[in-house]
């Protein structure tokens, strides 16, 4: 059984069919890229998969469990975490707090235990502190733990956003144009981060991207979207040579 299964999902905005009969299966530990020209409906697919939009038709299953109509936070609990095209960090909080918020579900003390500072508060907070610092260390960001998220350089902000998504312990990570606005150096760093995730975490990744170099470099399988429809599927080499893809990207 696939980890993520989207079956014939459609999204209709008034008279516009933004996504039409989209099908996708992602297996465990797979890295799939979703590409397509501007306005092809990539982000709409993403928003459906993560519960921001409810598909007008079709079904989405994560780990065998249907998530259509679930709230975004329920989808996180089901095992899918995401990042955003325009980075969404908790800007006025520290890097460590950004991670701790995503770590929320691992802490068990109740509101009253927290307010009255009962033993479980101390125990849980200590565990969270250590776990989150260790987590930052994986991404080589422990030096930034007490920096305000807004003061990080751009590339590091992106990295933090990915780390934060991973802190929710997802089974699948969805990255929405992570290389957008990055210079080649930062993109290179991003590729390393993605490789790091592949090595250290046992999860699947769905990647939306414009940057062909990045997609072809890291993805195992690629889905090409145009005008809301899938026009090609296959390995990077297959898609690279697919005439439809060439037509869409380069024109006739």
């Amino acid at each position: 059984m696939a980890l993520l299964e989207a079956a014939n999902i459609c999204m209709q905005f008034g008279g516009l069919r933004a996504v039409d009969n989209f099908n996708l299966e992602i297996n465990e530990h797979e890295l799939v890229g979703l590409i397509g020209p501007n306005g092809a409906g990539k982000t709409t697919v993403f928003n459906m998969l993560t519960g921001v939009y409810i598909p007008t038709e079709g079904d989405i299953k994560i780990d065998g469990q249907s998530v259509v109509g679930k709230k975004p936070y329920e989808i996180v609990q089901a095992g899918a975490a995401r990042t955003f095209q325009n980075i969404r960090l908790f800007k006025d909080l520290t890097v460590l707090d950004n991670i701790k918020i995503a770590f929320h579900h691992e802490l068990n003390y109740s509101t009253l235990e927290g307010i009255f500072r009962l033993p479980r508060y101390w125990a849980d907070e200590k565990r969270a502190q250590e776990a989150c610092l260790a987590f930052l260390a994986i991404f080589d960001m422990e030096d930034y733990a007490y920096t305000m998220a807004k003061n990080l350089p751009y590339g590091k902000q992106r990295k933090l956003e990915i780390a934060r998504a991973l802190a929710t312990k997802p089974k699948i990570l969805m990255l929405d144009e992570p290389a957008a606005g990055m210079n080649p150096q930062e993109t290179h760093e991003l590729m390393e981060t993605i490789q790091l995730i592949r090595d250290k975490f046992d999860i699947a990744i769905l990647l939306i991207e414009h940057d062909m170099h990045l997609v072809m470099g890291v993805c195992e399988r690629i889905v090409v979207l145009d005008y809301g429809r899938i026009i090609a599927k296959g390995t990077p080499d297959e898609t690279r040579n697919n005439p439809d893809v060439i037509r869409v990207y380069l024109g006739e």
Partner: protein, 292 residues
Amino acid sequence: MILFLQQIINGLSVGSIYALIALGYTMVYGIIKLINFAHGEIMMAGAYFAFLVGVHLGLPFFAVLIISMIGAAVLGVFIEFIAYKPLRKAPRISALITAIGVSFFLQNLALVIFKAEPKIMPNLIVKRPVNIGSLQIGTVTLATLALSIGFMIILDVFVKRTKPGKAMRAVSEDKDAALLMGINVNRTISITFAIGSALGAVAGVLFGVMYTQVYPTMGVMPGLKAFVAAVLGGIGLIPGAVLGGFVIGMVETITKAYLSSQWSDAIVFGLLIIVLLIKPTGILGKNEKEKV
């Protein structure tokens, strides 16, 4: 039936005053996203200007009205320049608190200058009933309706047909894009304040004439109701303010006449709550979803 029709006309006339004030709220909100809490006080200032000119110079109604409009427009532009302009890049809530501060300031300034007891507004419009069929309507009510509707038409033409009007719409749509198109944003904002304040002054003069009183806190309740009207219709939208004003005036007059005058405020605010819950951006407002 006759009584009911008369109440409808009263409602329309009260509503037209709310609509005039609501236009000021909505235009300012549309252009700088600020709830200008001092707008009720601009209306009060307009009424005091009319009172001063009416008593001391004894000019005819239209002259008084125009002087009061000019006075309020200057005041509005001045306030924007002194208090709001420095805060354009600050958190919006700071600008909101500043607007509240300006409102306090104007109220207390009027209190210091004119003292708390109400001044009697001179009879700028000859008060007598006019018979239309079997309906009896006061001249003030008729004048209020006619003037308000007249000014609304002028505003509509101004906003749609003239260059500064188009600039106003452009700035409220997208300030940065307007700037790139060579529109003088600062001047456009000043023009918006001037027009909004002048319309507020018209409302103040009519309100003063209708109730024959002028006092420092006279802008508070009409200001709040007009603000509710602007939100009800869809804040930032000129037709929304007019619609909201008439709806609030109507609902208020009808509940006062047929249900209960004590509960009329609760019904007005209750209506606002219900509309916002059903349509969070007001009756004519468009739903804008944040882009993810």
